[in-house]
């Protein structure tokens, strides 16, 4: 039973078409990454899945009782709004105070519950957003460029956290990312989007597809090949793993 099923989805803003005839499914436990150039409809696709935009045609259906956890692309909290981390995590309600510590630990920021949201660093902020997405024990985690504003080591660490979360909770992940080399190695499946689905499959299949090369060129290909190489090597010598990712 698929968690989410997108069937022949088209989305338009006025006369402008953002997505046409997009179909995809997400199965329990898999990590699916959406890549694509700016304006290719990646965010529109995610917003259609959470129900924030109505499809012009086609439909989005969720499995029965599927819970979503959503990490938005950018969240601006007005400085006039006082908000502690623990209050933020309890929105919109129905959350036991006891589960706050658990979600923060899962997101890798165990000691922040009393802090003001406006005082957090960008990395801490993204992890608190992740904690809020995790607190409802989602079946599917949706991430929209969740590492925007983080430096290389920061985003590498963030994606490792996502893999840990998937391993520990078994939730599926559907994410948008620009960081092709990091993300593709961490994904089970990659969907290349440019208003429509250009190509999809395992990272290797997508990376060698002509449609993908036409969009991203061969420069990124090189980075991917290099990364895959490092990643394979890290499997043989586990203690090198952190080192190779962070040093890139």
């Amino acid at each position: 039973m698929s968690l989410v099923c997108v069937d022949d989805l088209s989305v338009s803003y006025g006369a402008k078409t953002a997505l046409s005839h997009v179909s995809l499914t997400v199965e329990p436990g898999e990590i699916v990454t959406i890549v694509g150039p700016n304006g290719s409809g990646k965010t529109s696709l995610l917003r259609a899945i959470i129900g924030a935009i109505k499809p012009a045609r086609g439909r989005v259906s969720r499995g029965p009782d599927v819970r979503l956890g959503y990490v938005p692309q950018r969240l601006h909290i007005d400085p006039t709004l006082p908000m502690t981390v623990s209050r933020f995590l309890r929105l919109p309600g129905g959350i036991a105070p006891a589960s706050i510590a658990g979600a923060l630990a899962q997101a890798g920021v165990p000691d922040l519950s009393g802090a003001q949201m406006s005082r957090l660093s960008e990395g801490q902020f993204q992890r608190v957003l992740l904690a809020r997405a995790l607190i409802g024990k989602p079946h599917l985690l949706l991430l929209d460029e969740a590492t925007q504003g983080l430096d290389q080591p920061g985003s590498a660490a963030f994606y490792r956290q996502i893999e840990t979360v998937r391993r520990d909770t078994g939730c599926a992940v559907l994410m948008i990312s620009h960081e092709l080399h990091v993300v593709m190695s961490a994904s089970d499946r990659v969907i290349c989007l440019n208003g429509h689905v250009c190509c999809e499959g395992t990272p290797e299949v997508v990376a060698s597809a002509p449609e993908y090369r036409a969009l991203f060129g061969s420069g990124t290909m090189g980075a991917l090949a290099l990364y895959r190489h490092d990643h394979d090597r890290a499997h043989d010598h586990d203690h090198h793993h952190d080192h190779t990712e962070v040093a890139e």
Binding site: G51, H76, T80, L81, M83, R87, P92, L142
Partner: protein, 264 residues
Amino acid sequence: MLDDFMMRATLAGVGVALAAAPLGCFVVWRRMAYFGDATAHAAILGVALSLALSISVFAGAMVIALLMALTVNLLTGRGYAMDTLLGVLAHSALAFGLVAVSFLSGIRIDLMAYLFGDILAVSRMDLAVIWGGAALVVALIGWRWSALLTATLNEDLAYASGIDPKREQLVLTLALAITVAVAIKVVGVLLIAAMLIIPAAAARPLSRTPESMALVAAGIGSLSALVGLRAAYIFDTPAGPSIVCVAAVIFAALSILGSIRSSS
């Protein structure tokens, strides 16, 4: 107890302050200050219409305020910037209202009472309407509190939690129209926005959570009403503006205190 006009005035001021506090917090957080102003200014047109039709001023003002707020909601994102749109609508509504009042030759009305409030003339009936309206506003916002907060933080976050931000916006709009209608008698249409914004803004440096900000704002608003009325009585100044002056002084004092605390 209610025979004393000062007692009735005080209760009316506190009632408006209590309703305005939580709503005012949302007005501040969502940057709707000018929206509140526009809705309030439109109410003078409602006053004129209800006098012409001999219906309750409260009902007329509320209906027109609600229509105004809904019109603004409908027109946003259609080519004009929000502040331009509000500027056009707020001032035209005020102008049309003032012109409409001038047509009411049959009845002599004191326009100043509606522009700046007439809190010392609050009757028992007015008091019942003010407290009823205030209770309705507080209940409405209390009921939707978490959903409103989530929608205020981020619309997509709200959708992902199964909350429709457009519906929550409507709840705020309705609460705003009720507050405007009950506050006309107390501070008048020109100063209603002040009762919404100043106590909430003053409460910000003292608050760590949204809930504490709403409570502190309610306290500051009530204190302003008490002190402002007393000052108006002693110095023989207009009551509504005196209340707003006290709130402004509290805001200034707390802001200075807050900046001293955060820089030390």
